[in-house]
């Protein structure tokens, strides 16, 4: 049975009528960096299946839609814990406000104390960092590491897999308790952080895991999303673990990767005032 056969008969229960939303707090790495990658019009997977660009879009859109929220604002509290083997463990907590309809988000850092008041404002493709000490805004790159953790600034934007990637390979795999479809993806433009990805999508179109690769095939990082929270007909990843495949340290004779754990609390789709998505708000809160 091919993927499409299986999927056609799957009794999926997730509603997808609205233009779904996105929060992947770890929005599945929508953007940045990278070198040009050719966009094949049709590609053949190891199982012999081929995917046109339209089919890729359809499959990936289902995953995007569950965690994208164009019809409402989104807000939540995030705690990012960075575990560096053999070194100190750091913790950053912040509040995120997202408005997918305007491709905007605002982040207010609450901890650690020395960074309290610092904030990020994304409007369209512009990302500003506000430093309350210097009272100055600087433009930063969405592909930069977020606060020196394994997360990237763009991880907090909406998921745009369908827009950024096309499927070039497909297999199935049992991922713990989940039967998943595993897709190999290649970027269709330069504005992505990683030009190649492999993603694990469960039977309800929720992305459970993905691996990021450089153009040369170097495995850069692995992200696991073991927990989602359902709010109405939308989903919010509430527990995300990112493993840096390049950074780590040998501890007790065994190599341990650096890991970033993201916990999401108080997710909500309540309307957020327009002012929150302005530089003035960061000045007002962060001064």
């Amino acid at each position: 049975m091919t993927y499409r056969d299986r999927h056609r008969h799957r009794p999926t229960t997730i509603r997808r009528g609205h233009r779904p939303g996105a929060i992947t707090a770890l929005a599945i790495l929508a953007a940045l960096t990278a070198l040009p990658v050719p966009a094949p019009l049709a590609a053949q997977s190891a199982s012999g299946e081929t995917f046109t660009r339209a089919e890729s879009r359809r499959i990936l859109s289902r995953a995007d839609d569950l965690v994208t929220y164009p019809g409402s604002d989104f807000s939540a509290e995030y705690t990012v814990t960075e575990v560096r083997p053999g070194e100190s463990t750091s913790r950053t907590s912040f509040v995120l406000f997202r408005r997918d309809s305007a491709n905007s988000y605002t982040i207010l850092i609450r901890e650690p104390a020395q960074d309290r008041g610092k904030g990020y404002l994304r409007i369209d493709e512009n990302l500003w960092l506000y430093d309350p000490v210097a009272r100055r805004f600087t433009v930063v790159s969405a592909s930069d590491r977020f606060e020196n953790t394994g997360a990237r600034n763009d991880d907090f934007n909406q998921s745009t897999l369908a827009e950024d990637y096309t499927i070039v390979g497909h297999t199935t795999e049992q991922l713990g308790a989940y039967a998943t479809d595993v897709y190999d993806l290649e970027a269709v433009h330069d504005d992505v952080t990683f030009p190649r990805m492999r993603i694990w999508i469960d039977q309800n179109d929720l992305v459970r895991k993905f691996e990021d690769y450089s153009l040369s095939g170097q495995h850069m990082r692995t992200t696991a999303i073991p927990s989602y929270r359902q709010l109405g007909d939308r989903y919010v990843p509430v527990r995300i673990v990112i493993q840096d495949e390049l950074r780590g340290r040998e501890v007790d004779g065994q190599f341990r990767n650096q890991r970033t754990m993201i916990e999401v609390d108080k997710p909500s789709f309540q309307a957020v005032p327009d002012m929150v998505f302005t530089r003035t708000f960061l000045e007002r809160v962060g001064d």
Partner: protein, 477 residues
């Protein structure tokens, strides 16, 4: 300095919720991530109990059967990030971020004290140059020292989400009378936010517009706001915002009197983002000075940020006349690049301002010419612990071939104790643009340098090349 770094950050507990929960979270993380090298795939051994709720807070439960195969139904227990058990996530309306709480806090009194001392040794003129006038290198050696001490206290009160009062008082040690003067009010303002829509700030406060990093920002039409009293209003406007400010300065009031329209000035800025571009258009008007208009265009391309800004001023006394005594245009263009780990930073800038060029040759036979300025700067990764990031800054006046080159760094040598070191070099003929202002504006207003580096450089006096050291002890409460 605008750079971001969390280096050396340690786990902080109990800030969001006191003590035990914070500790529980840390333990949870350590156990979950940690110490044994658990495979990420192990996280999926237990099916996700997708918890339900309704983000709008109306208590809507999750649709039946939406949980992945093998999962428990919505409403089953799950573990929250705090490690607590949620008995029924579907029954209670989920908590949302309280925006009001972000802008509300009890009255806080904080302050800082710092004491700095610096020593510099160098040449006050280049040996064997014409300006050395036959003096030996030994004769040209000059040493200087300086010190500074200041303290500030601030009060920040945010009793309501829409209301805030803030003031900061500062007192500094006079190096001539050797006493602390009466505390001066650095800032005192009240914020009022009307219906989460319009933000007002009234009082004595600073503002700044512009993207310049090495030279003065021509689009900073509100640079004098901090010298007087002002009212500022900001509100969202499409995908951007609009800010208006009206202010008065002591000099205008003393000249024209209170209430005279010439004692006031107004400025307006509209900023908007589209694609990778951000634009800021602004205007300023004061009756004596005439109108000024400015524009800023910023573009972020990957890790590279490009910015350009220009200002056009119309002189009412010389309408239509271009140049120094009439209508004038100033501009800058710059770039800024930082690698993903924010360890290497490079930036550069070109600035044009015709008024920086002396109209006549001075008595020293030199025409100061700062019409065209160029600058480059870089910061290297930290050297060891203590945050020692070497920085190199170069500024050059094209017209009279003068310039400055500053290599410096500072870092923590003991808790609360910072050591700075720098080598400032100035070149060009005496009286040229950078030789003439080396000991004043360039160092004092150099926002690319830390306070500690500035202290070192300040004590270098008029030397053309120096080696400076400074120690600073400071703490905040």
């Amino acid at each position: 300095m605008p750079h971001v770094s969390n280096r050396g950050r340690t786990v902080r507990r109990g800030t969001r919720r006191p003590g035990v929960l914070g500790l529980a979270l840390v333990l949870l993380v350590v156990v979950a991530l940690g110490v044994p090298a658990q495979s990420l795939d192990d996280l999926f051994n237990e099916p996700d109990a997708v918890t339900g709720g309704d983000g709008s807070g109306d208590g809507t439960t999750a649709a039946d059967g939406t949980a992945p195969a093998g999962e428990s139904s919505p409403g089953d227990d799950t573990t929250t990030p705090d490690g607590e058990s949620s008995p029924d996530d579907t029954a209670a309306a989920p908590a949302a971020v309280d925006i009001g709480a972000l802008t509300t806090s009890p009255t806080r009194v904080s302050g800082s004290v710092s004491a700095d001392a610096g020593l510099s040794v160098g040449y006050n003129e280049w040996p064997w140059s014409d300006a050395a006038d036959g003096r030996t290198p030994r004769d040209l050696i000059a040493a200087s020292a300086g010190y500074k001490m200041s303290a500030s206290v601030s009060v920040d009160s945010r009793p309501q989400p829409y209301l805030r009062f803030y003031t900061r008082l500062t007192s500094s040690l006079s190096t001539t009378s050797l006493s602390f003067g009466s505390p001066a009010v650095d800032e005192l303002f009240v914020d009022y936010t009307l219906k989460d829509r319009v933000f007002f700030r009234v009082g004595d406060f600073g503002m700044g517009w512009g993207r310049a990093r090495l030279f003065d920002s021509p689009a900073n039409l509100v640079s004098r706001v901090g010298d007087g009293a002002a009212v500022r209003a900001s509100l969202p406007l499409g995908t951007g915002s609009m800010t208006a400010v009206a202010y008065t300065l002591p000099g205008w009031v003393s000249t024209h009197g209170e209430g005279d329209p010439r004692s006031f000035a107004g400025a307006l800025q509209v900023e908007r983002s589209f694609g990778v571009f951000s634009t800021e258009l602004s205007g300023h008007y004061q009756l004596d000075e005439g109108p000024r208009a400015a524009a800023i265009l910023t573009a972020g391309v990957g890790a590279l940020t490009l910015a350009g800004e220009t200002r056009y001023s119309i002189d009412p006394d010389h309408p239509g006349a271009p140049g120094r005594d009439g209508n004038a245009m100033t501009a800058i263009g710059n770039f800024f690049w930082e690698n993903g780990a924010r360890t290497w930073t490079f930036w550069g800038e070109y600035a044009y301002d015709h008024s920086r060029r002396d109209s006549e040759v001075g008595t020293d036979g030199v025409r100061r010419d700062g019409e065209h300025l160029v600058g480059l700067a870089m910061k290297a990764p930290s050297l060891g612990g203590g945050g020692w990031r070497p920085q190199l800054t170069w500024r050059h006046a094209v017209g009279d071939s003068s310039g400055q080159l500053i290599a410096g760094t500072s870092g923590t040598v003991a808790p609360g104790l910072t050591l700075s070191t720098g080598i400032p070099v100035f070149y060009g003929k005496p009286g040229s643009y950078y030789r003439g202002i080396a000991e004043t504006r360039v160092i004092d207003d150099d926002t690319t340098l830390t306070d500690e580096e500035s202290n070192v450089l300040r004590v270098s006096g008029e030397n053309v090349v120096s080696v400076g050291f400074g120690l600073s002890v400071s703490f905040s409460f």
